[in-house]
Structure formats: C-alpha cells, structure tokens
Amino acid sequence: MVTVLFFAGLREAVGTGIEELALPAGVDTVAGLRDHLIARGEQWQALATAKNLRAAVNQDMVPLTTAIKDGDEVAFFPPVTGG
C-alpha cells in the first residue's frame, strides 16, 4: 500500500485529500503513480493539467522521476505559496 495525499487547489479538484492504494504492477515512480491516477477518469484530470505539479515522497520534495515503493507516502500539490 502507498498513501497518496493531495493539497490545496489540487485537493479540491480531485475531491479528496488522502487515498490509500495498493501500488499497481509496473508503477515504480511518482510520475507512474500520477499517470495511473489520471487513467482512472475525469475526476483525476487535474493531475494532468496542473501547471508545475509538485510532489513529495516521505515528506521530501522530489522530482516526478523519483522511485517509489510499497509503504511510501506520496504527495501531489501545486507550487507552494506560504511565507
């Protein structure tokens, strides 16, 4: 299982802040997980159209090419705007 988190405008667009799912066969990077979610249908298209989509694995901001494995916490979000 991986935990997938969504924040801010992306959370609103996909309609959920958190989902647990079994890592599908062949999905072994952040980008792969994103593409898997997009393929589910309409609700997930914000992951495809998001400008400058950001991701974190186990709470470190990482490029979408980063490898993931069972047990990871993966987060998707727009560029940060705090401060």
Binding site: A8, Q59, D60, A75, F77, G82, G83
Partner: protein, 159 residues
C-alpha cells in the same frame, strides 16, 4: 563557547516578535546582531482587494522542511540562534503570517541567513494560501520572483 540553537513551529496562534528575540538572545551575550522578518497579510494582491485568507499546510512535512532550511543556513553562516514560526488557519489583513529571527555575532551573517531562510521557505515549505477577494475565493499563484530569489541563492552558495 556558544552553540547554534534553533527551533521551528507551525501554529494557529499569533506570536510576539520581541518575546521571540528575547528568548533567542537571553541565554548569552555573544550576539551583537539580530535580523528579523515578519510577513503580514496584505489587503490586496495584484490589485484585487483581499478580505481574508486561509493557510493550508502539509502536517509533518512543514516542520521537517523548515528544520532543513534552518540547518542549511546554520551550515552556511556563523549563527547563534534561529527561530521560525509559520501560522496556519484563518487570517485577516494585517495579521502576522510568518516570523524568522536570526542572531549572530555580526550583522552581515544575520541579514543573509534571515533573507535566505525566507526565500527558501517561500519555494520549499508546503504551505498554500487561499484568499477571499472582491471577485471571489482563489488559491494564490506562486510568484516567478520567488523562484528567481531561490535561484539566486543556488548560484551564490551552490545549494
């Protein structure tokens, strides 16, 4: 021998700048310089009036990101203390959002580290602002100028 001490907090509660400066400098009198930054909620953004704001964050990762930022500053400059507070939740124009206090024996290091921490926080710490404006509610867009500020440090100190 003075050692580097730091702490970060993510909280809904407001903070007092003077009290944070005193707490950071009370332990010894080696600090000659304290540089601070306070970010406030503005009543307008890109020409549109802002009525209020909500700060969303990624619990756990925010604290971790802030600590990493502070430690990077502590490696790069001679610092005595750093305190970072970032508020979350509902805020009004004029409210304090973020605090960075840096103490050092000398002012050049304090200024550089304080600005570095803010620039880094702006692009790396997982907070998002949603504002209620004259034309409705909207998520604030990231600024290219913030990426530029971050890129400047990457060039300067090789991060």
């Amino acid at each position: 021998m003075s050692t580097f001490k730091y702490s970060v907090a993510v909280q809904a509660a407001d903070f007092d700048l003077s009290a944070e400066v005193r707490a950071l400098t009370a332990a010894d009198h080696a600090a000659g310089a304290v540089a601070s930054f306070v970010g406030l909620v503005r009543d307008n953004n890109d020409g549109t009036g802002v009525a209020d704001m909500t700060l969303e964050h990624y619990p756990g990762m925010t604290e971790k990101a802030l600590e990493e930022i502070v430690l990077k500053a502590g490696e790069r400059w001679e610092l005595l203390g750093v305190r970072v507070i970032h508020r979350i939740g509902h805020l009004m124009p004029g409210d304090q959002i973020v605090l960075v206090v840096v103490s050092s024996p000398h002012r050049g290091n304090a200024f550089s580290a304080c600005e570095f921490i803010m620039d880094y926080l702006k692009t790396q710490a997982p907070f998002w602002k949603k504002e209620t404006t004259d034309v409705g509610s909207r998520w604030v867009d990231a600024r290219v100028s913030d990426d530029d500020a971050m890129a400047k440090w990457r060039d300067q100190i090789g991060l």
